[in-house]
């Protein structure tokens, strides 16, 4: 280091170069990844907003039309209905998904034997592609030859046409979505449970707290940040569900499962209207970002431990 050269306070050219490199090193390390992230993802977001303000004609010429695409999309009854379906889909997926994740996490936390095995098993659906998950769910719920109707029939119950009925198909779509997203949320919550000091439960028991009370008063507040992370995950997945719907119901029957993402694909890639397709992209992006920020604010950043840690 230059401190050993106390007879000269002028750095040699080589040393100056090495100081310069040291100063630049972090930027050099960070820039390649940034180029990809900004060049592809950043460009796509900005480009998409740009596209949404333009009209593309059949020769792919673009003319600036301002908010015209937004107006026509928001007046489109098919969009309005897909927006409502998306909201119902996301809300019911989050509600069911979080309850399931919490129950599974508590189960994995308390299970007395084969803990590692069950944990490993519980994450398996996370590694199954959305398309494969959808195909598997189709075969579980097919009218003849499906597992669910096999069980129903063996109890003498009626075997409905799950994917032919709008409401039932919607429910199957929510279930398939949950199957795919619950495992990751479960392990995040399990991680939260494992950070809780067991002494706290002992103390609560001595104070006469019952199971449910302990859960709501002690467990839940203590795993708030992990709850926030799980919520971000399940709503992110539910908003962007696309492959599962496309392969499970293709938006049907009678457009019952035509979520915004599916409608966007149809407008942009089948009707080739990039302008209106991009409006839907902006809608999806806005919803997801706002929701994520809300969770971050209420669950993660407001948490006392996070505040003391930073």
């Amino acid at each position: 280091m230059s401190t050993t050269r106390h007879d000269l306070d002028v750095l040699t050219a080589g040393e100056r170069a090495s100081e310069f490199v040291k100063l630049l090193a972090p930027y050099i390390l960070v820039i390649p990844g940034l180029a990809f992230v900004l060049g592809v993802l950043g460009y796509a977001v900005v480009g998409g907003v740009g596209l949404s303000l333009n009209e593309t004609d059949m020769f792919l010429n673009q003319t600036f039309v301002g908010l015209k695409n937004y107006v026509s999309i928001f007046e489109d009854p098919r969009f309005q209905s897909s927006l409502w379906k998306t909201i119902v889909f996301v809300v019911s997926s989050i509600a069911l998904g979080i309850v399931m994740s919490m129950v599974f996490a508590l189960t994995l936390y308390h299970v007395g034997f084969g803990r590692r095995f069950f944990r490993g098993l519980s994450l398996v659906p996370y590694f199954v592609s959305g398309i494969a998950a959808a195909v598997m769910f189709r075969f579980i719920f097919t009218t003849s030859g499906g597992f669910v109707n096999y069980i129903l029939e063996s109890f003498g119950l009626p075997a409905p046409s799950w994917l032919g009925d709008p409401i039932l198909a919607f429910i199957v779509a929510v279930l398939a979505n949950c199957w795919f997203m619950v495992p990751f949320a479960t392990l995040i919550l399990l991680g939260g449970l494992q950070t809780i000091d067991r002494d706290i439960y002992e103390a609560a028991k001595l104070d006469g707290a019952t199971g449910l009370k302990t859960f709501f008063r002690i467990t839940l507040p203590l795993i708030k940040p992990m709850m926030g992370v799980s919520l971000i995950w399940v709503s992110y997945i539910s908003f962007s569900t696309f492959d599962i719907i496309l392969a499970l119901t293709a938006g049907g029957p009678l457009r019952a499962t035509e979520l915004i993402s599916v409608y966007m694909y149809e407008i942009a890639f089948l009707q080739l209207d990039f302008g209106q397709g991009s409006v839907l992209m902006v809608v999806l992006l806005t919803f997801n970002t706002v929701l994520s920020l809300v969770y971050l604010k209420f669950f993660v950043l407001n948490d006392r431990r996070y505040k003391t840690a930073t």
Partner: protein, 285 residues
């Protein structure tokens, strides 16, 4: 008397407890495995047998469906595409993310915070929302229907995830360990290779497995950016199977599904411990 009450209470408690754990555990196992098990069973059945819903297990288990899939025209090509794209889209983002994570966790520099934010914000952007502008961009660049378009888009979407995981792992390594290596004269490259990577290896493995998962299972980008049959990946072809098979052969359909899922599940099984530990410890978010 109190003792006996305590014992009976204890028995009740333990019985109640095992029901309380046993029932949800059974639901967890059934819920997790049934879709896969059902597909496996169906793949061994006779195509006609699947329509008759009065069988659970295949009457005459046969591998015919798997033979049909493996001899499908194009299967080798789709498998190759999936493997090739996955390998590149794992190694490249992992290398880039290791450098970036090292930069973020070991240097204090101007704009560090905002640059880190730029890396992480894309994680909440739904991938499917980007397909319209990306299709536009890649058509302009003439990259549609090439491996490049998949390398580029998969790498870009894997980097934020991998960097985030690795920053956590690198940041938890005490600086003193590295400083002692500096005194021994190791340059940055050697410190990264000899000190940081061995210690943070579980993190690198986890990030790698998650990159593999993203690339192997990706659907929205490949659907939007590839339209030649020979360039499809396995999930894309699985999706197209719905339209391309005139009469539905459910056994073949299920066998195809299993074959697309199996390679990734094997990778997961081999590295399950590291991946599960990383997620439970909160290193993957």
């Amino acid at each position: 008397m109190r003792e006996r009450g305590g014992l009976i209470d204890g028995l009740h408690y333990r019985l109640g407890r095992s029901v309380l754990i046993g029932v949800p555990l059974a639901i967890l196992v059934i819920w997790t495995t049934i879709p896969i098990v059902w597909a496996v069973l169906a793949s061994f059945k006779d195509p006609l047998e699947i329509y008759e819903s009065n069988t659970l297990l295949p009457a005459n288990p046969s591998l015919d469906a798997y033979k049909t899939v493996l001899s499908m025209r194009g299967f080798d090509q789709w498998l190759f595409n999936s493997v090739f794209v996955t390998v590149v889209a794992t190694i490249v983002p992992l290398a880039i993310s290791i450098l970036a994570a090292y930069g973020f966790s070991r240097y204090a520099f101007r704009f560090r915070h905002i640059l880190l934010l730029l890396y992480l914000v894309p994680r909440i952007i739904p991938r499917v929302s980007l397909i319209v502008p990306l299709n536009n961009l890649m058509s302009d660049l003439g990259l549609v229907n090439t491996y490049w378009v998949l390398f580029i888009t998969y790498t870009a979407s894997a980097i934020p995830l991998a960097t985030w995981i690795l920053v956590g792992f690198f940041g938890s390594i005490p600086k003193e360990i590295e400083e002692s290596a500096t005194i021994d004269g190791a340059n940055m490259w050697n410190r990264l290779r000899r000190v940081i990577l061995p210690i943070a290896w579980p993190g690198v493995v986890t990030a790698g497995v998650l990159c593999i998962r993203e690339a192997w299972n990706e659907f929205a980008f490949v659907l939007a950016l590839i339209n030649e049959t020979d360039m499809r990946t396995l999930p894309y072809q699985l999706y197209m199977l719905k339209d391309s098979m005139g009469v539905q052969d459910y056994a073949v359909y299920n066998a195809f599904t299993i074959l697309t899922v199996l390679p990734l599940l094997i990778v997961y099984l081999l590295l399950e411990r590291r991946v599960v530990d990383s997620i439970v410890s909160g290193a993957v978010k």
